[in-house]
Amino acid sequence: MSDATTNAMPGSLTASSPKKRLKVKGSVIVMTLYLLFLLLPIYWLLTMSLKTNTEILNEFTLWPHDFTLANYATILTDPSWYTGYINSIIYVTMNTAISLAVALPAAYAFSRYRFMGDNHLFFWLLTNRMAPPAVFALPFFQLYSSVGLFDTHIAVALAHCLFNVPLAVWILEGFMRGVPKEIDETAYIDGYSFGRFFVKIFTPLIASGIGVAAFFCFMFSWVELLLSRTLTTVDAKPISAIMTRTQGAAGIDWGVLAAAGVLTIVPGALVIYFVRNYIAKGFALGRV
């Protein structure tokens, strides 16, 4: 050991720099390969959405030779397609609003106070995030049918609260813990009531947390299919359920299917840059 160190010492300056350059190169290769693996399938969906069905089925081309936007035009002009997007956006927005409204006070309570059964309650909330949607599909179907909410947007919004409310509570609690308690106490001494303090002082302090929680509620409600498909037939049918039925008499309309897929990726892709540093936090329920 001592031999190796003495031998390495004099040459360490000159020896380390080529080694370092090699290491950097290695990681660049790894990342390039990995990103390529991630992006190729998405690229393929994108090119397909820009091809005509004849080109898709008859020639094998790596990029659209016969560039067309007809597939997108079909979706954006045909009500049976675009209402799917509207339905999805309606229930997702409802869900986000409900989840945040109930999660904000609860997260505040968890981050500031000890109370009877708080730890158990916190874990119980998490268990709902662990519940397989498949378990809830049938009982939800019956519950919402029996109260006359079947095939409405609010039914799907409430059903998605199952996993989004715990998620919002956990994320917000993580952000609120970072705000020092002295701020609350000072505000109370200054004569703020709880409501005014919460809206005027506390909410701006955790604005980014609220944004992140909203984003994740939106996302998880947007990507879910099983519950939203089970709870809807016509009026509130989400885009993801419409997509599973593109098979017509003449086979599958691949171009339109691909275009519909690309359009569902858009909301995520639009905001991805702003939430890039919070993705890990959101998925990990605020625990990072």
Partner: protein, 289 residues
């Protein structure tokens, strides 16, 4: 942070409890109800006790599905966790390329699950998909709708594609929180790359890795949409995982009793395993903080 004792905080939590009770407890009670009763239709129910549970415990169908599910989750964890750590170690630490990698890697996470299925369904097709076409051109026989092995490879590669980034992002967040002083100390000690990983990076990442394992276990154990879109549970029953089987039983055949008993056991398995993870996780957090 020291929290004050205040039982009135219950009022702040009340809305959440009411809402979650409505959307989780009531449906769960219906499931429990069905699991101990049989019906002749017409809403006439009678008590059968634990018969459905016994039936399900002796049902080969459920054990097969459970076996496939455990195999799937095990493969997913053994591939994604090391691969995720490996990717995280190779990510640029700061600057433009770091942001670029973060954005690109997050992309699969934000795609609706059925679209993930659609993407791979198309990508793997021999006639129109890049992957299927290339494999076919190379002379490898690949057909995920007919061949069991190909179907499994497809859903596993799909899940690796979909979720490895999550593990990588979590591990990356863990790595970034390690102070530079640790690396400088390691440099002075002339620690090898492996020693740095084993004695500095891995212990520091343990907390986030536990979360990653918990999440990946939970989500892979209840996966439904993606394999359903790609293989529909086939060929035969080869990729019928627990959720797919349960939905078939409950909504397809409307076998309420068995499906309910199945649901409860399924939920309990997830709960128990997740509880173990959660306990380990919180203990780790306590030790650190």
């Amino acid at each position: 942070m020291d929290k004050t004792l205040n039982h009135k905080a219950w009022f702040l939590v009340l809305p959440v409890i009411v809402l979650v009770a409505f959307s989780a407890v009531i449906p769960l009670m219906t499931v429990v109800n069905y699991s101990v009763q049989d019906t002749f239709g017409n809403n006439q129910f009678f008590w059968v006790g634990l018969e459905w549970f016994e039936e399900m415990l002796h049902s080969e169908r459920m054990w097969d599905a459970l076996g496939r599910q455990l195999l799937f989750s095990a493969i997913i964890l053994t591939i994604q966790i090391p691969l995720g750590i490996f990717v995280a170690l190779n990510m640029p630490k700061s600057g433009f390329w770091s942001s670029f990698c973060l954005v690109m890697m997050s992309l699969p996470l934000l795609i609706p699950w059925n679209v993930v299925g659609t993407i791979w369904q198309i990508f793997g097709r021999v006639d129109i998909g890049l992957l299927g076409y290339t494999l076919d051109a190379l002379g490898i026989s690949y057909n995920y709708t007919q061949d069991i092995f190909a179907a499994w490879v497809t859903i596993i590669v799909m899940d690796v594609w979909h979720w490895t980034s999550l593990v990588a992002l979590l591990a990356f967040a863990g790595l970034k929180s390690i102070p530079d002083a640790y690396y400088q100390a390691a440099k002075i000690d002339q620690a090898s790359r492996w020693a740095i990983f084993r004695y500095i990076e891995l212990p520091k990442m343990m907390g986030v890795l536990m979360i990653a394992i918990l999440l990946r276990f939970m989500d892979s154990f209840m996966i439904y949409t993606e394999p359903f879109v790609v293989t529909g549970g086939g060929p035969g029953n080869a990729t019928t995982l627990l959720s797919i089987d349960l939905v078939k039983m409950a909504l397809g055949q409307f076998d309420l009793g068995p499906a309910a008993a199945f649901s409860i056991m399924y939920y309990l398995v997830i709960l128990i395993i997740s509880w173990v993870f959660y306990t380990v996780m919180t203990n780790l957090e306590k030790k650190e903080g």
